[in-house]
């Protein structure tokens, strides 16, 4: 293993956190979406992270299997029931005049978004530090 593999780990973190931000943005954008191709209101989604060994398919020593990157294992749909609002005028209203809206928790999503941005920045800091280490090492060869 070397510094380039460490850079791989950082970029896996960047990719995972970016995916998380995308999904969160989708949730926020669809907070009021009552109609989807699948039918019914939009359902909130969230990412599930899992550790991954660095450089899959590569021969790696045992100790290195313990230092790993991350990936989005799956994107799961929030099972919580839709929020029913009484809006008889709404085209999607049911017989009783209720409209099913996505269950939306703005506080939770904003907290999650803040954490995702922070995580992204931390991985960016790793990439920067490692890039600096690589450059300094190459400078030694220049005398």
């Amino acid at each position: 293993m070397n510094l380039y593999n460490t850079l791989d780990i950082a970029s896996s973190g960047l990719a995972a956190q970016r995916k998380r931000v995308e999904i969160l943005a989708e949730n926020i954008a669809n907070a009021e979406t009552t109609r989807t191709p699948e039918g019914g209101p939009y359902q909130r989604r969230r990412v599930v992270f899992e550790g991954r060994p660095p450089r899959e398919g590569f021969q790696i020593a045992l100790r290195d299997a313990q230092a790993s990157g991350v990936r989005v294992a799956e994107v799961v749909t929030d099972p919580s029931p839709p929020e029913r609002r009484y809006l008889p005028e709404h085209p999607d209203a049911d017989a009783e005049g209720y409209v099913a809206f996505p269950s939306f928790n703005p506080v939770e999503d904003m907290v999650d978004l803040t954490a995702a941005v922070r995580g992204y920045q931390a991985n960016l800091a790793v990439a920067g530090a490692v890039r600096d280490m690589i450059n300094r090492t190459i400078e030694v060869a220049r005398g």
């Binding site: 070397n2 510094l3 380039y4 590569f58 790696i60 290195d64 090492t137 190459i138 030694v140 060869a141």
Partner: protein
């Protein structure tokens, strides 16, 4: 100055010493050639080690960058060393040739 020390050196000892000096001076002619060959072999080993490390790095094998740099520097130092030795030898040779016997 301790004059007594000199008086202790007897003639046979001096002769023996100068004889052994002459012998050791004759031997290096052989040794130097061996030394040079050994040095060249070591240099060759270092060069091939350095280039195999560079190749490993290029192929994405997990070699540490600073190790590759160090191997390269070591090979280049060995090369400089050989060059210095060679220059010294040539210099010494020319010096000898200029000597008026």
């Amino acid at each position: 100055m301790d004059v007594a020390r000199f008086s202790r050196i007897t003639a046979p000892e001096l002769i023996a010493e100068s004889k052994s000096k002459a012998a050791s001076a004759a031997a290096p002619a052989q040794d130097f050639k061996g030394l040079l060959a050994e040095g060249m072999a070591k240099l060759d080993a270092l060069e091939s080690e350095a280039s195999s490390q560079v190749q490993a790095l290029m192929q994405g094998e997990p070699v540490e960058l600073h190790r590759v740099v160090l191997a390269g520097e070591e090979a280049s130092l060995a090369f400089d060393m050989m060059l210095s030795v060679r220059n010294k030898v040539v210099e010494a040779y020319q010096e000898v040739m200029r000597m008026q016997v």
